[in-house]
Amino acid sequence: MDRRASLSGKAFDKAGVELKRLQHLGQLARGWLVRAGRTIRFAAVVLSLVISPTTYRQDNRDAIATQVVTGLGANLLWFTVLCALVGVVLIRIVVVTALSYGLSRFALEMVVRVLVLELIPLTAAVFVALRCTLPDGLEVAEMRRRGDLQLFQGQDLEALQREVLPRVMAGVFAVLMLVAVSCLMALGLAYLNIYGFTPWGFAGYTRVVGQVFSPAVSIILVMKTLAFSLAVSVIPMASAVYDNVDTALHGRSKAARELASMVRLFSVILLFEVVSLMFNYY
C-alpha cells in the first residue's frame, strides 16, 4: 500500500511540474500578447497624434524639428559613408563574380535587388534603431524613472506630444531619409562600377532598373521601409512608456530590460523582412 501510495505521489508531483510549466508558458504568452497589444495601441495613439493639428503647435514644432535635425545630423553622414564603402565592395564582388561566370548582364539586376531592395532598408532601420531610437527610448524611460515625465500609462497626450512624439517622428524620418539617400547612392555607385564614367550606359541601365522596379516591387519596398521606420520608432518608445507598469520588470536589471527591448525590435524587423521577401519572391 505504501509503495502504491508513493508511486501515485510521484505521478502527482510530475503532473504538478507539468502544470506549472504550462502555467509559466501561459503567463509568457499572455505577457507577450499584452505587450504586443500595448505596442499596437501606442502606435495607433502616435499615428492619431501625427494627424492631429494640435501636435503642430509652435512649441511642439520646435521639439519635432530639433529631434529630426539631431537624429539625422548624427546619422546621415556616417551612414552614407558606411553604406558607400560596403556598397562598393558588394557591387564589385557581384560584378566580378557575374563576369567570371559569363552572367554580366544579370549583375546590375542582382546589385539592385540585393542592395537597394533588401540590404539598405534593413541596415538603415537597424542603424537608426541602434544610434537613435533605442537611446531615445532609454532616455524617456530614465525621465520617467526620475519622475520628470508622468505619462499615466500613456494617457497624458500633452506629454506624449511634447516628449515622445517628436522622437518617434524623428526616427521615422531618419529611416526614410537614410533609405532614400543610400538607395540613390547605391544606384549611382552600381552604374559607375559597371559602366564607368560614361553616359552611354544610361539607357540600358535605366531599362534594367525599370524592369526590377515593377509596380509590385516598388510598393513592397515602400511598405517595407514604412514598416521598418514605424517599428524602430514605436517599439522602443512603447517599451519606455509601458514597461514600468509590468511587475515582471521589477525583477530585471536595467541592462536586461534594454536587451529585451532590442531583441523585440529586431524580431519585428526580421518578421517584416521575411514577409517582404515572401511577397517579393513568391
Binding site: R61, D62, I64, A65, T66, Q67, V68, V69, T70, L72, G73, L103, R105, F106, M143, D148, L149, A159, R162, E163, F173, L176, M177, A180, V181, C183, L184, G204, T206, R207, V209, G210, Q211, F213, S214, S218
Partner: protein, 323 residues
C-alpha cells in the same frame, strides 16, 4: 516639462527658427529625392513613351514575365506589358513597342522565344528586309519557340539508344564479336603454313592443287614464249612472209599507176563524145527550122495549086448531084 538644460539636445541651444529651417530643408530634400525617384522609375518603366501594341502568340508562355524585353540585334525595342490566355488556349503576349523603335519591326519580321539552359527567357525579333512595310499597330504574330531545355529529354533518349546499340554491338554473342573471332581465325591462317592462299582456300589440298596449276601454267607460258619467237621468225624473218607481202604491194602500186593512165584516156574519149553529142543537138535544132521552112513552102505550093485550080478554065465541078 522639467528637464534640466544639460539634458536638452544640442539643437535646442540654437534658435528655434534655425532648427525649423534645417528640418524644413531636410524634409524638402527627402521630398525631392522620393519625387525624383518616382519620376525616374516612371520614365524607366516607359510611362512617358508613345507606344504601339504588338501581340505575340505562342503555345506556351513559360518563362515569359511581364516586363521582359523584346530585342532586335541585341537592343531592346519593346517589352511585355500583359500576358493572357486566348480563347483557343494559346498564350497571348501583348507587347508595348516605343514608336521611336517601331521602324525596326517590319511586316516580314520573325519573332522567336528562346529558353536557354542558363538565364531567363528571351524574346527576339529578326527583320530580314528592312524595306518592307512597317508593322502596323496591334499586329498579331506567331512566336517561333526554340527551347534548349526541351531538347534535353530527346537528347537523353537518343544517347540511351546509342548506348544500347553499343552495348548490343560489344556483347559476348554479338555479330561484332563473331566477326572479330573470324578475323582472328583468318589472321591465324595467314600466319600459318599456307599463308594467304591457305586462308582463302581453307584447305591444304586445294592449296597444293593451286600451286601445281600455277607451275603448269608457268611451263605453258614458257612454251608459248618459244612459239611466239618462232612465229616472229617466220613472219618477220629474212625469208618471212612480210618480205613477199612488201613485193606484192610494190607491184600493186605499179598496177594502180597503169589503171590511172587508162582512166585518163577514157576521160578524153568521153570529152570527145560529149562534143559529138553537142553537135548533134545543134544539128537537131537546125533541122527543126528547116522543117518549118519546108512546111511553109509546101503550104504555099498547096495554096498556089488550089489557086490555079480555081482559076483554071477546066475547072471540074466537084459537086455531086444526087438523083
Amino acid at each position: 516639462m522639467n528637464e534640466s538644460p544639460s539634458e536638452q539636445p544640442a539643437a535646442f541651444n540654437g534658435s528655434s527658427a534655425g532648427v525649423q529651417f534645417k528640418a524644413a530643408l531636410l524634409l524638402l530634400l527627402m521630398i525631392l529625392l522620393v519625387g525624383g525617384s518616382v519620376v525616374y522609375l516612371m520614365y524607366a518603366r516607359g510611362v512617358f513613351e508613345a507606344t504601339q501594341k504588338l501581340v505575340l502568340v505562342a503555345d506556351d508562355s513559360e518563362g515569359v514575365v511581364v516586363g521582359i524585353d523584346l530585342t532586335f540585334s541585341g537592343f531592346p525595342v519593346g517589352r511585355v506589358s500583359q500576358i493572357e490566355l486566348s480563347p483557343e488556349g494559346n498564350a497571348r503576349m501583348i507587347m508595348e513597342i516605343p514608336r521611336r523603335d517601331a521602324h525596326w519591326l517590319r511586316t516580314s519580321s520573325i519573332f522567336t522565344l528562346e529558353r536557354g539552359l542558363v538565364g531567363g527567357t528571351r524574346l527576339r525579333a529578326y527583320s530580314g528586309i528592312l524595306t518592307d512595310p512597317a508593322l502596323e499597330d496591334g499586329a498579331t504574330r506567331t512566336l517561333l519557340v526554340g527551347d534548349a531545355s526541351a531538347e534535353i529529354p530527346k537528347l537523353v533518349a537518343s544517347a540511351k539508344e546509342l548506348i544500347q546499340n553499343l552495348k548490343a554491338l560489344t556483347a559476348a554473342d554479338s555479330s561484332l564479336d563473331a566477326s572479330l573471332g573470324n578475323v582472328k581465325t583468318l589472321t591465324d591462317k595467314l600466319n600459318g603454313k599456307g599463308g594467304a592462299l591457305g586462308a582463302i582456300l581453307g584447305d591444304e589440298k586445294h592449296t597444293e592443287k593451286l600451286l601445281t596449276a600455277l607451275d603448269r601454267a608457268n611451263s605453258l607460258l614458257a612454251k608459248v614464249d618459244i612459239l611466239a619467237a618462232k612465229a616472229d621468225a617466220q613472219v618477220f624473218g629474212p625469208s618471212g612472209v612480210m618480205k613477199d607481202a612488201q613485193a606484192t604491194v610494190v607491184q600493186l602500186n605499179a598496177l594502180l599507176v597503169d589503171a590511172r593512165a587508162s582512166l585518163k584516156k577514157v576521160d578524153a574519149v568521153l570529152v570527145e563524145a560529149q562534143a559529138v553529142g553537142a553537135n548533134a543537138k545543134a544539128a537537131t535544132t537546125d533541122l527543126d527550122v528547116l522543117r518549118v521552112d519546108v512546111e511553109s513552102s509546101l503550104r504555099k505550093v498547096d495554096h498556089l495549086i488550089n489557086e490555079i485550080n480555081r482559076k483554071w478554065p477546066f475547072k471540074r465541078d466537084a459537086e455531086l448531084k444526087l438523083p
